[in-house]
């Protein structure tokens, strides 16, 4: 289960509100390659991973993505704080303001509400990890586009650069996890054809994970 820590993973203090930037950056909150999609993708895929390293990788990166979700939400919030409806309208966020005010709503830059169709859980660990590698690259590319669009405010650039770097590290980790899964799936399998062994195994207690010698 999860616990919450009252600290951002990377500090964010935006001094100049700028609704135009918020309109773009919100895509990393609830867009196709955003942090919400990333987190749900990894946390959903981790259950059926065939090895411990892949489970741990998806579990821990999926968790970090939730911290990134909070960071992106913080950026959007600070960029829209204290603006008048006129300023918001002038920035092209009039339609957003109509439905959401200045709440942070998970949607893409183009206004598409978040959908689970952004993520995949294919029932195949290789396909899933390949999807995760692609997802990290797409998120990296999105952050680079946002960095190009936000070149005038260092308060926004700095956390975006941090988030971009994390995509690259996660790509590296997923690559390592994928190789581990490939090795595991390529292992030779041995099948027991020994009746004594079969009896021994069937005598294991099913209810608890102890190697006790009872007949359950």
């Amino acid at each position: 289960m999860w616990t919450y820590n009252k600290v951002l993973q990377y500090p964010i203090n935006i001094k100049c509100p700028n609704a135009k930037l918020a309109k773009f950056i919100i895509s990393q909150y609830g867009g196709p390659d955003g942090e919400l999609a990333a987190s749900l993708r990894y946390l959903s895929q981790r259950f059926a991973m065939p090895d411990q390293k892949a489970k741990a990788t998806l579990n821990d990166i999926g968790t970090e993505e939730l911290a990134h979700l909070e960071m992106v939400g913080t950026i959007v919030h600070q960029l829209t704080q204290g603006l008048s409806p006129e300023e918001i309208k002038a920035a092209g966020l009039g339609a957003y303001y109509t439905d959401h005010g200045v709440d942070v709503y998970p949607q893409s830059a183009a206004g598409m509400p978040f959908t689970a169709a952004y993520i995949a859980a294919k029932g195949d660990p290789i396909a899933n990890l390949q999807e995760d590698l692609a997802a990290e690259q797409k998120a990296r590319a999105t952050y680079e586009k946002l960095i190009d669009l936000c070149c005038d405010d260092p308060d926004v650039l700095d956390p975006l650069r941090f988030l971009r770097q994390r995509e690259i590290v996660h790509f590296q980790r997923f690559g390592e996890a994928l190789r581990g899964v490939q090795d595991k799936l390529a292992e030779k399998r041995f099948f027991m054809n020994d009746t004594n062994m079969a009896n021994m195994m069937s005598n294991n207690c099913n209810g608890c994970n102890n190697n006790c010698n009872c007949n359950n």
Binding site: M1, R46, F47, Q52, K53, K55, A56, N59, D60, C205, N206, G207, C208, N209, N210, C212, N213, C214, N215, N216
Partner: protein, 130 residues
Amino acid sequence: MIEDRNCNMNNECEFPTPQGINAAFGYNTAIMNDSNSNCGCNCNCECEDETRSEMLKNIRCLSFAIVDLAQYLNTHPNDQKALCLHKEYCRQLKDLKDKYQKIYGPLSIYYPCNKWRWLEEPWPWEGGIE
């Protein structure tokens, strides 16, 4: 000198120990009930994990009590009884987690070990030790 914002655990609760007021809040934490030692596997074997599953059960109970109390305290921040219970459960949970992790390995990535034990134990969704 760093200011003490009253987050220390020095001052004693002026209320009775949690056993006494436990029921009023509807908590039934196992650690206070000295609950049974049945491992729940329906076998007569000596279960090595008896202490372990017992400890996990207590960790789960205390964690839930703290989650529930925190939500209550958010809307009743001046309730001294709840505050006292929260303090006591936090202390118990911290002690119990320390004890558990020393023996069975990390419950989170924030517990350091001499070797990386995070990969060793089953995941909670695998239904192993619960």
